[in-house]
Amino acid sequence: MAAVIELKNVRKSFGDLEVLKGIDLKVENGEVLSVIGASGSGKSTMLYCINGLEPIQDGTITVEGTVVNDKSTNLNKLRQKIGMVFQQWNSFPHLTALENVALAPRVVKGLSRSAAKEIAAKQLAHVGIGDKLDVYPGALSGGQQQRLAIARALAMEPSYMLFDEATSALDPELVGEVLDTMRMLASEGMTMIVVTHEMGFARDVSDKVAFFHEGKVEETGPAKAVLSAPKSGHLQKFLAKVH
């Protein structure tokens, strides 16, 4: 099967600091890839490069055959296909839950107000907060805000979803509801790249795992195999620490 998202020898620096030192990764259609590794190993930066929020210095990133780092690529168009969920959930505080989700379908896709709201209501119900349509984010819990962010991304009907430590900023008791929502998406066949510290999620939900160490993919393979029998010494140490 052909890869739908592919990174080849991707290099990225912030000034003199090289954060990605030649990343190779492939994600196939319907696959869930979990990216694990210590903070500062380049996991999140890699996600930002995939939808072009951060430029890269070398290598190529292709999404469905479109080269992301090509100057002629229409990034706004490409990003419609790639939903992204952030660590800080980033709901728009001046809009109600419904308006948060309906905004991009309306202004980016040009849907009518009513059509956009219909999609928004459907997606909010899908992530389990269909009763909060007219509530402002300030009155939602962290877990609800993160599910709102997921619904907002889904409303653009993306083919791929990127999760950047979606549960790291949540209170422990709220992590479960967000992970459940992500599980649901995975079971629906969504292609996902999940940067996470939740080893349980990585093991149970993802097909593949990639372990990042100091800007490189140090080990990758089927999730269960990699996590239960890590070959790399760094990964062994990392897993011993997070468990």
């Binding site: 930002y48 929020l53 939903g83 992204m84 952030f86 905004l103």
Partner: protein, 222 residues
């Protein structure tokens, strides 16, 4: 005290004073709209990565905030005459107040933009929104909320500053008051009445702004 208060001339002149107050409001509203628009552009200019817009907007802000308003009005009314540009009192006063407001609001807007986390921009861009769409639907509405109350203060300030327009020959509220003063010599009565009118205008604007603010921002509290 041997001064005899005499109010009938003031009461007789009230219709004219109210008309002049309306001119004061018109000048203030127009200056505010122009000043806000330019102020927003200047705040973008100050954060530009290019030298020219950055330098131009910095000079504007520095001059507007660090010279007397009266000088600014005189510059537009008399100063430009030296270069063969003759503005009417009305246009000169509007230009000066817009110039001043733009300078102050640019700084307020800048603070407002700095208050919006960078991640809001990323979230909007990740949804496929263009830079301009992101500004229009996500960033600017949030900035407006931050700058709303400083903005209403500036509006009241503009209304009060517009009284200096009298010195460029504009018959706004203060100019009109001075006109009646010179005709009747009822100095205290006229200026006292006008002070009350300014006070009422300022209070109405403040209360109206609170009401509108409450209506727009209710529920958004974080």
């Amino acid at each position: 005290m041997d001064y005899q208060f005499l109010w009938p001339p003031v009461i007789k002149a009230l219709p004219e004073l109210v008309d002049a107050a309306l001119l004061t409001m018109e000048v203030s509203v127009v200056s505010m709209i122009i000043g806000l628009s330019i102020g927003l552009l200047l705040s973008f200019g100050r954060r530009s990565k290019y030298f020219l817009p950055r330098a131009a907007s910095t000079i504007w802000v520095e001059l507007a905030r660090n010279t007397p308003v009266l000088f600014q009005i005189f510059f537009f009314y008399w100063g430009l005459g030296e270069f063969g540009i003759f503005l009417s009192s009305y246009v000169a006063v509007v230009a000066a107040l817009s110039f001043n407001t733009a300078g102050y609001m640019a700084e307020t807007f800048r603070g407002g933009f700095n208050a919006i986390p960078e991640t809001q921009l990323r979230a909007a861009r990740s949804l496929g929104m263009s830079f301009l769409q992101t500004q229009r639907y996500v960033i600017v509405p949030q900035v407006l909320r931050v700058v709303y109350y400083p903005m209403t203060n500036q509006f009241i300030w503009v209304i009060l500053m517009s009284s200096l327009g009298m010195l460029a020959g504009l018959r706004e509220l203060t100019g009109e008051t001075q006109y009646f003063n010179s005709r009747t010599f009822r100095t205290f009565e006229f200026f006292a009445a006008t002070a009350v009118i300014y006070y009422i205008i300022a209070k109405i604007v403040m209360l109206g702004a609170r009401l509108i603010g409450w209506r727009i921002f209710r529920g958004q509290g974080t």
